[in-house]
């Protein structure tokens, strides 16, 4: 037999095996008692297919592992939801400043009663996905620090008052 002929024969046998497996596995899925028959099929192939269908079973991991990995995936999913805001360094997250202002008198107001631009402080939370949580914590800390009433010494209060008086004089 020529090499080409042998190859063709192998491919035909392989195709026959493939069809037999399809029928066998389908019967196994249906839990059918009858198994398909193909007289031309190599008996060794039939033996192996029957045995492997019965013996090679699917293995399930422990439920403990399943839950643990499920938890890790949920954690990753949460991080991914935060990522559009935190990642890429292009989307600013705005923390409105609502705390009391230090210093006694002067407030700069925008014309037409618009919101004071200083009241909106953009914080860029950028960087790697893994550092998103740290960045959020850092931003929250900065916002808290800014909002917190500051106790200043009499000397510092005097310096600040003098600076604000100068600022008012310059603007008027």
């Amino acid at each position: 037999m020529t090499p080409g002929g042998a190859r063709d024969e192998l491919e035909v046998d392989a195709l026959r095996t493939d069809r037999y497996l399809e029928a066998l596995l389908a019967a196994h899925d249906r839990r059918a008692a009858d198994t398909p028959s193909d007289g031309a099929l190599d008996p060794a192939v039939r033996t192996a297919a029957t045995q492997l269908t019965r013996q090679l079973v699917r293995v399930h991991p422990s439920f403990r592992f399943e839950d643990r990995l499920g938890g890790r995936l949920a954690e990753l999913a949460r991080t991914m939801r935060l990522a559009p805001a935190a990642g890429g360094g292009v989307v600013p997250v705005v923390f409105p400043y609502r705390g009391p202002r230090p210093g006694p008198v002067v407030q700069l107001r925008a014309p037409d009663g618009e919101l004071d631009p200083r009241d909106l402080r953009p914080y860029l939370i950028g960087g790697a996905l893994t550092s998103a949580a740290l960045s959020l914590a850092g931003a929250a800390w900065v916002a808290w620090r800014r909002a917190r009433p500051v106790r200043i010494s009499p000397m510092a209060r005097a310096v600040r008052a003098a600076r604000e008086v100068r600022l008012v004089q310059r603007l008027s």
């Binding site: 493939d18 039939r46 492997l52 090679l56 699917r58 399930h60 991991p61 990995l69 499920g70 999913a77």
Partner: protein, 208 residues
Amino acid sequence: MRRPVLGMGGGAEARRATVSPLDRDRPLVEAARREPARFDALYRRYLAQVYSYAFYELRDHHDAEDVTERTFLAALANLDRFEERARPEDGADASTFRVWLFRIARNAVANHRRDRRRHPVAPLEAAAGIPAAVDVEGDASRGDEAAAAWRAVDRLPADRRRAVVLRFVEEMSTTEIAAVLGRSEGAVRVLLHRALRSVGRDLRGDRA
């Protein structure tokens, strides 16, 4: 769920008619893309399959867990890169989510083996340990049969063994196995045929 393979004759039209669209996970994938937490449904659906594949490849529960974990974390993190290829004629990379997932798993297994070669920690368990682990009924003769079957499978070259596991354990079609292994369907059919022939001869020899 069984999946049909290509019909044997009748040209392109007949083939189109006999190939089922490989897109049954589309709703779940789209949901997970919109809301990553919904990936959980895909995870529950394929956990046992990926774990089994890893376990039959590595023959160690801890290693299989490690590979399974890497596979699903990588799949979720890269879900946006997954491209559904509904039909095999779309190209050599024709893929469903499951095929894509198993390709990740295959790479994870390969990486794991490479790491183990660099940093060996313990010898692989004996192949005969596998049937004992999965023989839930504890029947002795059935256990013997399972052990003999696994020994025969274990003696196969790696590519044939992999094809056998994907066919019999994961119940993948020839089309899907070809996509996972990066081989043609014809090559996969020949791999399986040769694998079964040698396993069958081995089993008959065992029995004799």
